[in-house]
Amino acid sequence: MSLLDRFRSGLQRTRERMEQTLGAALGRRGAIDEATRAALEEALLAADAGPAAAERLMDEAERRMRADPALDLRHALERGVAQLMGATRARFTPGAERPWVALLVGVNGVGKTTLAGKLAAGFARDGRSTLLVAADTFRAAATEQLEVWASRAGVELVRARDGADPAAVVHDGLSAALARGHEVVLVDTAGRLHTKRNLMAELEKVGRVCARLVPGSPHHVLLVLDATLGQNGLQQAREFQRATPITSLAITKLDGTARGGAVLAIADQLKLPVSVVGLGEGLDDWQPFDPEAFARGLFE
């Protein structure tokens, strides 16, 4: 399946609803009337874009259509979304650092562990020696879950007993990576609600431990967001950003039902790029993010 097809199938429902709500209006050119604007707003809100980003995208589409009379609403929207999502870009790809250290962070249940397993499998397949670090010592059996993923991906895993200090596990993991010469270290952290001050402080500590063992690390902090998430995503991104500088976002469970529009709000307000999308539960079900393909997936 091509990249575009994957986005198209991931965003299928959202697109269908968009078409249902807007119908022929998507082919319209020139000025947008009140009724079309209302329908458009409803469609964007239904995609979880949120009131503010919806307004921004509508204004942007109107501006483009005024400037170019040949442009129809569908393409005006598509370009607006592509521009918004492409304003900043990021790839989740190891750099030249040895080891290259990445943290996966996010609230509970967004799919961090599953994504960590998939990303590790991808790197291992590219011939990079990869180490998984199970820093979720809180959730019962989280380590066992990652263990299964590590063996599926054929990579090594550093773990500790439940309830251990996550920073200590990270310390062990990075020491092991340095000693054994791993190229890539992926740290799976425990899910934490962004409103929990002590857990966010714990995350800061994990970051400090990384920097102490491998100067300049973590090289990438990936905030994992669930695509069925609503407007709270913005709040999550903002609070995580405070604890540890977020490099990019991953959207998980973008698999046909999710709306995925919450990332529009986040891109609009916080200018954070998306780097990875998770499309299902299989080992290979993830993709690098592509703003243009995402925009076309929404509207074409």
Binding site: P51, E144, E147, G230
Partner: protein, 442 residues
């Protein structure tokens, strides 16, 4: 939100008519704010639209327009409509006359089913019910281990199916086992699934049949967006849902999904999941969630937090001491520690009704200061805390060095303490104060 809305409606009325009355037009305009608040809280677009339409229909009636306080009236209508949508009467998990009562948990991936299963076991255990947990989640790696671990923590029974058993066989086996061992409740966890995943939905149906579930609870992440309605409708339509559970409600999500789910399924919301610990389960309260959805804070949540942190006896002792003006630095330290136990202050402020988020910045005493105060107090000797007047210049220098602060800060603390004591003295003479504050907290 309610306060702002009331002000706005009153303001418009005054300005436009000079008589304090509203017109249908300006009511409509104000209701746009309500709609926006609902949408920002993730209430589904159609649900929000219907709600606003119902409010509008009632609000432009003669009664409101002729009222002298039309603003309050409209706001009252918004509240009523919201609460009636959410369901007024509290509902709890019903036991069945047939033992065991079988509760099947269903939902999307990552909604918190397994954690909820552990919490429910603890909750039922606290009501003297014997509970057995079993997991039919053969899909997520280590999901069954996770539930086994939680069952241990909740001191509930657990049954593990033979390796490789299909979900249907697990459901039947768990039921037999629970019957045989005489459990009151069987809570059966299932794998997370998408509502459009046909084979998985068929599996859930099979699970329901094989376990003879009395209650299917749909467990949903409280942060879910617009999709909540479809998820609710699909699970209710395909498998049947008897009750709803919203999880992760200890975050700052406004919880509009509650409204969407109620509308989609017509079923009661039984529980709210708060926190990762096993006792983090709360009964649903429509008034609280209505307030939260409209961004007006959660005063009940605040009080519960306070209650959890404040030791009743200690509080009573404090009131007694205040009355006798014996409030010492020991008490000051105790108070400080209780406030700190309630969690970060800015989080608490978010729960306060009528405090706009923007106003929070800078207004909250910062966490660092409290921590330093605690360090200073702990660096004093017990005698110094009991008799603060003995703290002279030399002692101040020692305390500052011991707590890693400065003499200026020690001085500032002592000044704050003096003020607090003066306040306590005032309270002694007035009927209001700590005692009445505690009365309100009940």
């Amino acid at each position: 939100m309610f306060e702002a809305l009331t002000d706005r409606l009153q303001g418009i009325a005054k300005r436009l008519t000079g008589q304090g009355k509203l017109t249908p037009e300006n009511i409509r305009e104000s209701l746009r704010d309500v709609r926006r608040a609902l949408l920002e809280a993730d209430v589904e677009v159609a649900v929000a639209r219907d709600l606003v339409a119902r409010v509008e229909a009632r609000a432009v009636g003669d009664e409101v327009l002729r009222s002298l306080t039309p603003g309050q009236q409209v706001v009252g209508i918004v509240r009523e409509e919201l609460e009636s949508l959410l369901g007024h009467a509290p509902v709890t998990l019903a036991g069945s006359p047939h033992v065991p009562t079988v509760v099947l948990l269903a939902g999307l991936q990552g909604s918190g089913k397994t954690t909820f299963a552990g919490k429910l076991a603890r909750w039922l255990g606290g009501r003297d019910k014997r509970v057995m947990l079993a997991s039919a989640d053969v899909h997520r790696p280590a999901a069954i281990d996770q539930l086994a671990r939680l069952a241990g923590m909740a001191e509930a029974g657990f049954w593990r199916a033979p390796e490789g058993a299909a979900p249907e066989a697990i459901a039947g086996g768990a039921l037999d086992e629970a019957r045989r061992r005489g459990f009151d409740f069987l809570v059966l966890d299932s794998a997370g699934r998408l509502q459009i995943d046909e084979p998985m939905m068929a599996e859930l149906e099979t699970l329901r049949r094989a376990s003879r579930a009395h209650q299917v609870l749909l467990v949903m992440d409280g942060m879910t967006g617009q999709e909540a309605v479809r998820v609710g409708r699909a699970f209710a339509g395909r498998v049947g849902v008897d009750g709803l559970v919203l999880t992760k409600m200890d975050g700052d999500a406004r919880g509009g999904a509650a409204l969407s789910l109620r509308q989609a399924t017509g079923k009661p919301i039984l529980f709210l999941g708060v926190g990762e610990k096993l006792d983090g389960l709360e009964a649903f309260d429509a008034a609280r969630i209505a307030g939260r959805i409209l961004g007006m804070g959660d005063i009940v949540g605040l009080v519960e937090k306070a209650r959890a942190a404040v030791d009743e006896q200690q509080a009573r002792r404090l009131v007694e001491r205040a009355r006798k003006s014996e409030f010492t630095l020991e008490d000051f330290l105790g108070q400080l520690q209780q406030v700190r136990k309630m969690g970060p202050l800015d989080e608490l402020m978010k729960l306060m009704p009528g405090v706009p988020r923007q106003a929070l910045a800078g207004a909250v005493p910062d966490e660092g200061k409290l921590r330093r105060y605690e360090a200073i107090l702990l660096s004093m000797t017990p005698r110094e805390r009991r008799l603060p007047r003995v703290i002279d210049g030399s002692r101040r220098r020692r305390i500052a060095a011991g707590s890693g602060t400065t003499v200026t800060e020690v001085n500032r603390l002592l000044k704050d303490y003096d003020q607090a004591r003066a306040l306590m003295k005032q309270m002694r003479h007035g009927p209001r104060g700590l005692a009445s504050l505690r009365g309100r907290m009940r």
